[in-house]
Amino acid sequence: MSSRTEPEGSQEEKRHTQSVTPRQTSNIKHQTPITFHGSRLTAHTSRLTFYALLLPALLFLLVFYFYPLAAIFRASLGAGIAPAALAERLATSGTLRLLGFTVGQALASTALTLLVGLPGAYLFARYDFPGKALLNALTTVPFVLPTVVVATAFTALIGPRSPLNTLLMSALGLERPPLDFRYTLGAILLAHVFYNTTLVLRLVGSFWANLDPRLEEAARTLGAPPWQVFWRVTLPLLRPALSAAALLVFIFCFTSFGVILILGGPRFATLEVAIYRQTVQFADLPLAAALALIQILGTLGLTLIYARLQVRLSRPLELRPAESTRHRPHRPGELTFVIASLTLVLGCLGLPLLTLAARSLEGGARFYTALAENPRGSIFYVPPLAALGNSLRFAAGTTGLALALGLPAALALQRERRGWLVDALFMLPLGTSAVTLGLGYLIALGRPPLNLRGTPLLIICAHTLVALPFVVRSLLPALQAIRPALREAAATLGAPPFRVFVAVDLPIIWRALAVGAIFAFTVSMGEFGATSMIARPELPTLPIAIYRFLSLPGALNYGQALAMSTLLMAVCAAGFIAIERLRPPGTQAF
């Protein structure tokens, strides 16, 4: 579609017939589209490039998603179960109520997450303040933490022995703590906000940073009140990134598992929880498969609607370098905003993290030094550095593979009108039950022709499957916001397609690429479910080591789990800062 793939000949032609300033080229594009869309050869090569860029990612999906999924569905539903009987069982087992709760809590969680995340995204996009890089890194840390560990922090903060309860008990002379916020819908929503706010902060924030503030200033000069400027100018401009973030948050909450079980308690169940119970406790694989299918179809439907909308929402924008759009807060109003939104972000995300780190130090450094000991000589003992090394190796592999597959795929999708159909496919793994897919991996990828059981590659592929949607989601809005005029100008000046990509696209999407890389890294560092099913016990990751400690009573085990979690937090924060600092030599920060 764009000029990048046009054969040299047509570019030569243009160079002679048209003037070369970017502005004019873009005007010409709108006036005489024939120049750019005309030749059949052009359309043909464009199509070829489209498939060539997309092929690796599609092949990957085919082998590591559709093939194992088909295998588990065949194993579950193959034993001659009548669809009618299954539908009847679905109807009688409260599936509608289950679906209602799943969708309802996901909608509420998404709305709340956006509400908490938007001021933070604005804060990170437009203001400079001391400690910003570290704070930005810390906001993503929740994403990697095991739910059991997060539940510990929440119990300390909002449970029966919370500071507020202690205060109320001593002030009012109460025997029992008056407030316990846990095991309520509120606790579920709060935990979802805690986990997912980072998606809004990063996806929307990185997009916002490049929006031209002069558009808003113009509206204000024309007399629009601030809310109107936000509603009629900023929000419409943000929509592509905002909807991408909202979709990811929704799917995450829609398939929520640990948060529901541990912080919501057994009274609450999502589809994902029901699938797990039917599979593991009742061994009812047909019912589990039917529920898994509903969850996948729900994800697919939602993603299709989103992707269709996205085509209409996204438009090329006049982007500015992030440096030029942000500044230090000066006016009292700005300062108030910065302090208020910092408090919100720190309160929701920082406080639980701090609580964990503080508790890990309750035994002095003992919980940390104990990590390096193996007094019982267990064959499964892993020194903390080795677990860290395993985690980092898997995360590096995942980040590399997800970028290598995701970047070409995003490049293909942004230039193809019907790309949205394919785009939706990449989201499916996020909406697929982990236990279903895990069992699919075991039966499909543990035998010839593809016997990968126990290999590190299998773990990396499983993690990449989840990481890929993040890379695509963070890249697409950025790519679609680039004015074609810029690429056309570069091409007109004689740059071959790859040079156009390096000179024009790459600097602009670099921030989005870093966001994608950060989430790929994060997904891998924090993943537990699939890893515990397919990893070799000799190569445990940090989350696996944390769970091992939490399966035994005693102060030392609990302390070591917290120490390991703090280690995980620190390493991830350092990793995020490092990824953000990475920049290809010669490119300017944008």
């Binding site: 119990t155 449970g159 029966p160 022995r161 079980l261 057994p266 406790q281 061994a283 003992r366 399966s551």
Partner: protein, 356 residues
């Protein structure tokens, strides 16, 4: 040039001769690999496994496959192409499902070590599942709380619905946690099929808290354990938990802060089994491994690694077990076929009575 060539020739000839001479004596066989499927919390000392490996010229490869339910599912789903030769950790609540699925092959001969295992643990006469360890799921209590409030420790499950124990108990969801399921079965046995849902209704009225897993119950709800930050002094845990509290305090405690209630009919005994997966190419090695699992070497290693009791009565117990670990008196033991026949229904009825 020539001399060098000749020398090479002689050397190769010599080597060839050497090889030819060496050929009749067989080279040491490469170690065979034994794949053992275990659940997440399985553990064993490195030296113990080394002993088996040296003795049998084998390499033991462990596959951790999730919790017991997930592990069994994996074994069933991959029975056409088994991922392991031996499976370890199927308990008496899953025993019938494993036997019915046909994933196990009987041992060729009765292992000698089985003679030291009490007959009540030997639940599969077909020799497909061999008992290796057992543990009692019991109520644990916070000693400080009961002393401070001068409250007697409950000695019967029925006590739990009395007003003085209101709001004190936390239990695990039986549909998600194995101690939770064990406790549910103890109540079924204590109050009969007909009346156990009523007991749970009363328990609910007495403000019982249900959480999803053992870790949440013990660390976030229970008040007694070191590191626990809850407020409830009664929890469903294991009879060995107080001993683990002392052991993992690293000398800070000489008395456990918690106690296990082991009164008759209040505990449920979980027995864990091992077996050979059908279709293994190394059946003899698998059988040798199971014999080894019943030997004192492995049995004595069980307590500190997995905090359960060895099945063999001749295995010595570590001091911390001798001093602090208790065995339930007359624990509830339901027959595996009764469990298999009713388990789904109990879980459904329980969910209906407690969570709705």
């Amino acid at each position: 040039m020539n001399t060098i060539k000749q020398r090479w020739f002689c050397l190769s000839l010599g080597l060839l001769l050497l090889v030819a001479c060496a050929a009749p004596t067989p080279p040491p066989a490469r170690p065979r690999t034994l794949r053992v499927m275990v659940y997440d919390s399985f553990s064993v000392s490195e030296s113990v496994i080394k002993a088996f490996e040296t003795q049998h010229n084998a390499t033991v490869q462990f596959l951790k496959a999730g919790d017991t339910g997930t592990m069994l599912n994996q074994a069933i789903l991959s029975q056409e192409n088994p991922q392991a030769d031996v499976i370890y950790g199927i308990d008496n609540t899953f025993l019938s499902r494993a036997l019915e699925a046909g994933i196990l092959q009987p041992l060729a001969a009765r292992p000698a070590g089985l003679a030291n295992v009490p007959p009540e643990l030997q639940l599969d006469p077909s020799l497909r599942l061999i008992p290796v360890d057992y543990g009692d799921v019991c109520l644990n209590y916070d000693k400080a709380y009961f002393a401070e409030h001068q409250l007697p420790v409950p000695q019967d499950l029925r006590d739990l619905v009395r007003p003085e124990y209101k709001g004190l108990l936390v239990v695990e969801n039986p549909a998600a946690s194995s101690p939770g399921l064990a406790f549910l079965m103890a109540t079924v046995d204590r109050f009969t099929e007909e009346h156990y849902p009523d007991f749970w209704q009363d328990l609910l009225a007495n403000d019982v808290r249900v959480v999803d897993g053992w870790d949440t119950a013990y660390y976030n709800e229970f008040s007694g354990g070191s590191g626990s930050q809850g407020t409830r002094p009664l929890v469903v845990s294991y009879a060995t938990s107080p001993a683990a509290e002392v052991y993992f305090s690293e000398g800070a405690l000489t008395e456990p802060p918690t106690g296990a209630i082991t009164a008759p009919g209040t505990c449920f005994r979980q027995v864990e089994f091992t077996g050979i997966l059908t279709g293994t190419p190394v059946a003899d090695l698998a059988e040798a491994f199971i014999a080894f699992l019943l030997s004192d070497t492995f049995q004595a290693d069980i307590p500190l690694q997995m905090w359960v009791f060895p099945a063999s009565q001749t295995a010595p117990l570590p001091p911390v077990f001798q001093q602090y670990a208790v065995v339930a008196q007359e624990p509830v033991q339901l027959a595996p076929d009764v469990i298999a026949a009713n388990r789904d229904r109990w879980l459904r009825e329980w969910t209906e009575a407690v969570l709705r």
